[in-house]
Every structure is written in C-alpha cells, then in structure tokens.
C-alpha cells in the first residue's frame, strides 16, 4: 500500500516536473508568458508530490513497514526513533528522495519570491529548475527506486549503518548539506534563463547573488558540521581527511565563494560577465558531480553509498549539462562582452581577480587530486593514492594567499588606489600582525606556517574590524548616536558589506584554528592500569574503572578517566553494533576555549584491569565550530531584505525602470 502510493506520488511528481519544464522553457524561449501560470502550478505540484513522498517514507520507516524495499534495507525495530527518521537520508535511494523534496522546496520558494513578476525570464528559470527536477524524479522512479515492494516481507531489517547512529550531529549535517547543495540549482536556473532569454538584465546580478548566498550559507554550515561530526565521532582526532566525498562538497563551495566576489566586480565595472556566469554554471555542475561521486561507487570513501546502477545515468546527465553549458555560453557570447575594465593593479577589483584565480586554483587542485587515481588507472593501469599529504601541501600556500587577500581586498578601494594612502592605512594592521607574531614567539610557539597564519590573521582581523567600526564611528561623530545604534544603522545601510566582513572574521577564526590544531597538536598513546595515569600535554588522566551498558541497537564499554587536578570524569568508549565486526569508538572530548583534550579508547584488557588509549591535545580546534554562528550572522546581515523596491529579473528598458519598477521581488 505504501509502496504503491509512494511510487504513484513520484510518478505524479515526474509528470508535474516534465510538464512544467517543457511549458516553461518552450514559452519562455518563444518570448511569451502565457504558460507562466501553469508553470507555477507545476512547481507547486512537484513540491507537493515530493514532500508527500518523503513524509510517506518517514511514516513507513516509523511504522516499520518492511514491505517497502528501502525500509527493509535500512529500517530496524531496535533503532531509536530519532535515527529511524534520520535513516531517510542514510542510504542512497532515500537520500535522492530527500534531494527531490529539497529541490521542490527551493523551486517553490523561488516561484513565490517572484510571484509578482510576469516575465519570460521567470518562466525560463522555473522551467530550467524543473528540468533538473525531471532528472531527479526520473532517478527515483527508475534506477534508484526506494518503493519496490518486497516479497516475502522480512520481519526486521539491519538498521542504518552503525556509524550513523552514534551521534546527534548525524541528524543535522546531511540536511544542512543538502540545503546547500540542492540550492545551487536556483542560481543555475536564473543564469541559464538570462542566457537563454538573450538579454542580461541589470537585476539578474542581485537575484543571482542572493540566491547563491542562501545555499552557500547552508553549505558552509553543513561542511563545518560534517567536520565536527568526523572529529567527535570517528576517534582519529581529525576533522578533515580530504576524502573524495568531502572534497566533492568543498568544490562547489569554492566556486560559489569565487562567484560571490566576482559578482561584485561585475556590478561595478560591468566586466567579467563570462567569468561570473561560468562560475555559476560550474557551481551547479560541481554539485551534480559531487552527487555522482558519492553515489557512483567508483570512489573509495567513508561516505560512499554502496554500488548501484545510477552511476551511468548520472554521468550521462553530467555530460548533457556540460554540453549544454558550453553551447549556451558560446552561443550567447555576444551578451558577455565586457563593458568596462579593470584599470589598476592596486585596486579592489584586481584583488578580487586574484582571489578568484586562487579559488579556482584550489578547486582545480582538489578536483585533480580527487580524480587523479582514476586517471592513472585509465592511462597506465597503475593504482595510486592521492591523500592528505598531497592536499595539505598543495592547499596551504593557496590558503595563506587567500587569507592575505581577505585583508588586502577590503583595504583597497574600488578603482585606482593612492599608494601613500594605502600605505598609511596598512600601518595599524601590519602593527597588529607584528604584535601577534611577537606574542606568539614569546609564548614559545615556533614554525613558519602557523606563525605566518597567526600574523596574517591579526592583519586581516584588524582591517576587517576597522572597516566594520569606522562607519559607526563616523555616525557617532556626525549624528551623535550611541555605539550600538551607530553599528546597527551603519550595518543596515550597507548590509552586504557589513555581512561580508563579518564572514571574513569568521573565516579568520577557522584558518587560525586549523593552523593551531594541526601544527601544535600533542599526541600520546599508552596503556594504563586502573589507578595509574597517562600524561598528555599539560593534562594527566587517571583510569578509575570501566562502565558498560546496553541500548537496543548497541552495547558499549567505557573507560572512566579522571582528569587529575579538576576531578572531571571523561568516558571514552567502544560501541558494539550487531552489524559490524569492528567496534566503533566514541571519543571523549573536553573542550576549552584554548583547546581540546581528546581521548580515544583503543583496547581493553581481558582481565578488566587496563585500557589502551590514544590521547591528543588540539589547541584552538573548537574555534572552527564556533565560527558557525559568526558565518550565519554575517550571511543573514548580507541577505536581510531592504525595504526599498528591488529590481525585477527581467531587464527593463531605460534607467528609470530600476528604481520605480512595479515588478518586484517580494522576498
């Protein structure tokens, strides 16, 4: 019953998407808006079908309806309720179903945001987005069908992968990541609509930027949560392994960030049009590539779903998208001729150009490194690995350069800069950097790379904070406002700028934390008997004894470790799941603002008297997760809607149209 209903909903969704895509693109290309109402209805229909299918699947999971293939695959009566709901996205078919729902939500949101605009561009954009929806609905209906009825109906299932049941972060990391990934379809739709329509209006930049920043925020949060999960759950003390699937999520983030910057140059100088649009298309392509990499089974990754048939289908879609994108960009080349130019090397535009080059360079490096084992196997038949050492070596210089630009960019003005003025303005930030450097040296810290990172961090923070505070100071002096009012007002008058600099500060936190936690980590491993202590860094942990427990889906044994001096008890443990022959450890982490003490239980003795542990002290690692509120705050500030009328997606004839147009984006 659930199977049939679920499958029916998917087919209905596929029908809505196909109808909407065909009508939207056909009428949009022909320049008519007659079909727009129907396209909007198709969008609503697609959304309803997808969400209903997802809810139905959650219902099937919760009611343990093992007649549905997906539930038989990942469901289990002994899994706690939370993780049963989470198992919706824990395996391949369910994750694509989830993808469809989020896609439907985004397209509907876009349709609602532009509900007052009646133009062929909205028609085209919705049509393109629904075309992507067609692909995913087709996948769900065909190769990745979770609804196949099972016969005979099993009594119980194996439950989701034990690793996915270990931590609450598993509940939020995938949805965040999906909201980021899937959301990139909207800028894709806007950009292709603009190109297909044949005219690039003034306003598409604004919409493009806003509708990229929203998924960018989710993607950033999703990636950071993913690394927090790896850190808190996997027990090896790391948070980023340059795993192919991790890289896959990182690639569109890089190009989206590059786009957010290059669009600023485009706005002011009317140049870099081709480049900016290419970045948008590349971001979407990379999300599809990333989805492919996770699900195709050709990559060896912690995240890989099991091998399935959807690989070739995905690859065909990617090939089609590539052909379409290149054809579209070359056919509309005449639209993309720059109208302005970048005049001076010492200007913000140039800084952003270099920033873009670096981001694309890192993107290329990560993509090349991830794909290279496939290349050598195809060409030479030899299997090699490209792992952490390679990626760390290649990305550190780029990362430092980007950090430097995060400071220099905001310090430089648009257009030609006066060298003397810039020199004077850089004095305080350079002094800050020097102070930071001296302080670090005084504390006994050594090592060129981390010290350079800290010094640059000080430099960048000083510049960005100054850019945030100086306008407020002006307001205080001119309008005699109080500090917070002044800050608030200056922020609300220049939201993108303020939000952007806040995000820069968040990024500085992350980069400094990465440098500290990688360079100054202390590691010990050892075996301790009950009553004796293990020394790691400045901490000593004493083994008090062992605990054990059982939950419906797992049994566990923990070592009670007392932190000598503070009396705090940490309990690193090993979990035993039925499905897995290796126990899965849960580390015990004590977080302080200055660093983490991280204990991982490796082995217990038979006689119950000793334990073997790995212990680390990671300085500053918590700053990485604590940057999330800063990034989100910055993005919210940048995205917060202005009360003034905004521009429509369609290009309006004449300059007057931009401010007094009655076509508005009502988001």
């Amino acid at each position: 019953m659930n199977s049939t209903l679920g499958y029916g909903l998917i087919l209905a969704g596929l029908a809505c998407a196909t109808f909407g895509a065909v009508v939207g693109i056909a009428t949009g290309m022909a320049g008519r808006i007659s079909g727009l109402a129907w396209v909007r209805r198709a969008v609503l229909g697609f959304f309803v079908c997808m969400v209903a299918a997802n809810l139905l699947m959650v219902f099937a999971l919760l009611s343990h309806d093992f007649s549905v293939k997906y539930v038989a695959h990942v469901g289990s009566r002994s899994t706690p309720t939370v993780f049963t709901i989470v198992s919706l996205w824990s395996a391949l078919e369910g994750s694509i179903l989830f993808w469809g729902a989020i896609l439907g939500a985004y397209v509907l949101a876009f349709s609602i945001a532009f509900r007052k605009e009646q133009s062929r561009y909205v028609s085209l954009a919705l049509g393109m987005m629904l075309a992507v929806g067609v692909f995913f609905a087709f996948l769900i209906a065909g190769p990745a069908n979770p609804w196949t009825p099972m016969s005979p109906v099993p009594l119980d299932g194996p439950g989701p992968n034990p690793l996915l049941q270990n931590h609450i972060l598993m509940v939020i990391h995938p949805p965040m990541l999906y909201c980021g990934y899937v959301g990139m379809v909207v800028p894709f739709g806007i950009a292709t609509a603009a190109l297909l329509g044949g005219q690039l209006g003034e306003a598409w930049t604004g919409s493009l930027r806003r509708w990229t920043l929203i998924p960018w925020t989710f993607l950033s949060v999703g990636i950071i949560l993913g690394s927090w999960w790896a850190y808190a759950v996997l027990g090896w003390g790391g948070y980023w392994a340059w795993d192919p699937v991790e890289n896959a999520s990182f690639l569109p983030w890089l190009t989206a960030t590059a786009f957010i910057h290059s669009t600023m140059v485009h706005e002011r100088r009317k140049t870099l049009k081709l480049w900016t649009l290419s970045l948008v298309l590349a971001t979407f392509l990379l999300t599809i590539l990333g989805t492919f990499m996770t699900r195709s089974g050709i990559f060896n990754s912690v995240h890989s779903f099991t091998q399935s048939d959807i690989g070739p289908t995905f690859l065909t879609f990617i090939a089609m998208l590539l052909v379409f994108s290149i054809a579209l960009l070359s056919a509309r080349g005449h639209l993309l001729i720059p109208e302005g130019q970048i005049q001076s090397p010492l200007s913000r535009e140039s800084a952003i150009l270099v920033n873009n080059l670096l981001f694309v360079g890192v993107t290329f490096t990560v993509l090349l490194g991830t794909l290279f084992p496939l290349v050598t196997e195809a060409v030479k038949g030899v299997r090699i690995s490209v792992g952490e050492p390679y990626f760390n070596k290649m990305s550190v210089p780029g990362g430092l350069a980007i950090l430097f630009l995060m400071g220099v960019g905001p310090a430089l003005p648009w257009g030609q800069a006066d060298r003397k003025l810039i020199g004077k303005q850089l004095l305080i930030p350079l002094a800050t950097a020097a102070v930071v450097l001296v302080a670090c040296l005084a504390l006994g810290l050594r090592g060129i790379l981390p010290l350079l990172t800290f010094a640059l961090g000080g430099f960048v923070a000083a510049i960005n904070i100054r850019e945030l505070v100086v306008p407020a100071k002006i307001r205080i002096s001119q309008h005699r406002e109080a500090l917070w009012t002044a800050l608030f007002r200056s922020a609300s008058r220049a939201r993108r700028r303020f939000g952007g600099y806040v995000i820069h500060l968040g990024m500085v936190l992350i980069l400094v934390a990465i440098a500290a936690s990688q360079s100054y980590v202390t590691r010990t491993s050892g075996t301790v008997r009950i009553g004796s202590a293990l020394k790691v860094g400045d901490y000593r942990v004493k083994l008090l004894g062992f605990d054990e427990g059982a939950e419906p889906h797992r049994r566990w044994k923990a070592a009670r470790m007392e932190l000598v001096g503070s009396g705090e008890v940490l309990r690193p443990r090993m979990n035993f799941f039925e499905r897995s022959t290796d126990p899965i450890g849960t580390p015990a982490v004590k977080s302080t603002p200055l660093g983490d003490l991280y204990l991982s239980l490796m082995a217990l003795s038979e006689d119950g008297q000793s334990a073997t542990l790995n212990a680390w002290v990671f300085p500053l690692v918590g700053w990485i997760w604590w940057s999330i509120p800063i990034l989100v705050a910055g993005a919210l500030i940048a995205l917060w809607p202005q009360r003034q009328s905004r521009r429509a997606l369609a290009p309006a004839v004449g300059a007057a149209a931009s401010s007094s147009s009655n076509l508005r984006e009502t988001a």
Partner: protein, 164 residues
C-alpha cells in the same frame, strides 16, 4: 623493543564476533617515535578508506604501524621502509604520488594553472592603459574638496561607500 602482552577484548556472542582490539607495540623513544608517526602519515591503511596508518583505528593499520616501528628500530631508512610497503601493496600504499611519469601532472598542473591565470590577469589589467589616466582624472574631480589630510579622504571614501 618488546611487544606488549596483547590486550584484547573477548566478546564472542552467538550472533556476532568482534575483532579483538589489540594494543600495538610500545612507542620508541621520542625522536624515533616521531619518525614512526611521520612515516605513518605517509602510508595508507590497507583496509580503510584513505586514512593513514597513523590516523586509523583499524587493527590492520596498527599492524602496519608496528611494522614501521620495528623497521625504524632496526635502523632502516625512510626510503627503505616506503619501498618495503610499495613492494607489497604497490604505489597505492603511498598517500602522495611519487613524482615520476604521469604523476607530474598532479604536482605541476595546479602550478601551471596559477601561472597561466596570473598572465591572463596581468594582460587584462594592462589593456588600454591610455584610458586609465582619463578615467582617474574624472574620478578625482568628482570627489568633494576635503583635500586636507588623509583621514578626511578616507572618511569621504567611507561616506561614499555608506551612501551605497
């Protein structure tokens, strides 16, 4: 270097058995142990998805690291240790590709891209330099006449930005 009495957890149940988590060999003295960990970071665990033997909690990784430790204790060089593993598991066991033949692509490709990119940017910016001074002059004249003091010019700039 003696080997620690294997510490293992014994948990055979009717339904599932668990691989005993055995402790590895004793760490060597700090200088040598640092070398062991460094080499460990370069070698891939044979049963994991891309982790190094230093990072992986898997028992196979522990066995591989023990081998590295015993070879370091015997006085073998880094190259010999790496060669030992390559002999058994192939180049795949090295976490960064050796620089020979086609592997140069992965090391030099990004560098080449950056260089080409810089050249393209430089040419973009240097195009039509004659137009630049004119545009500059226009911009200068548009600025309000707070010519005295750098602070004022900066503030004027900030005000201009605020007005955006």
């Amino acid at each position: 270097m003696g080997s620690v009495l294997p510490l293992a957890i014994l948990l055979s149940t009717a339904l599932g058995d668990f691989a005993p988590q055995q402790a590895g060999s004793e760490p060597l003295e700090p200088a040598l142990e640092a070398r062991v960990q460094k080499l460990g970071k370069q070698l891939r665990c044979a049963v994991c998805q891309g982790l190094s033997i230093s990072d992986s909690p898997a028992s196979m990784a522990r066995a591989q690291l023990d081998k590295v430790r015993s070879m370091v204790a015997e006085g073998k060089s880094d190259e010999e240790i790496r060669a030992y593993f390559v002999e058994r598991y192939g180049e795949w066991v090295l976490l960064q590709p050796e620089a020979h033949g086609i592997n140069w692509l992965v090391w030099l490709g990004p560098v080449a891209l950056l260089l080409i990119g810089f050249v393209v940017i430089a040419r973009q910016i240097q195009k039509k330099p004659a137009a630049a001074p004119e545009a500059n002059a226009e911009q200068q004249s548009k600025r309000p006449a707070h010519a005295q003091g750098d602070d004022d010019e900066y503030l004027a700039r900030v005000r201009a930005e605020l007005e955006r």
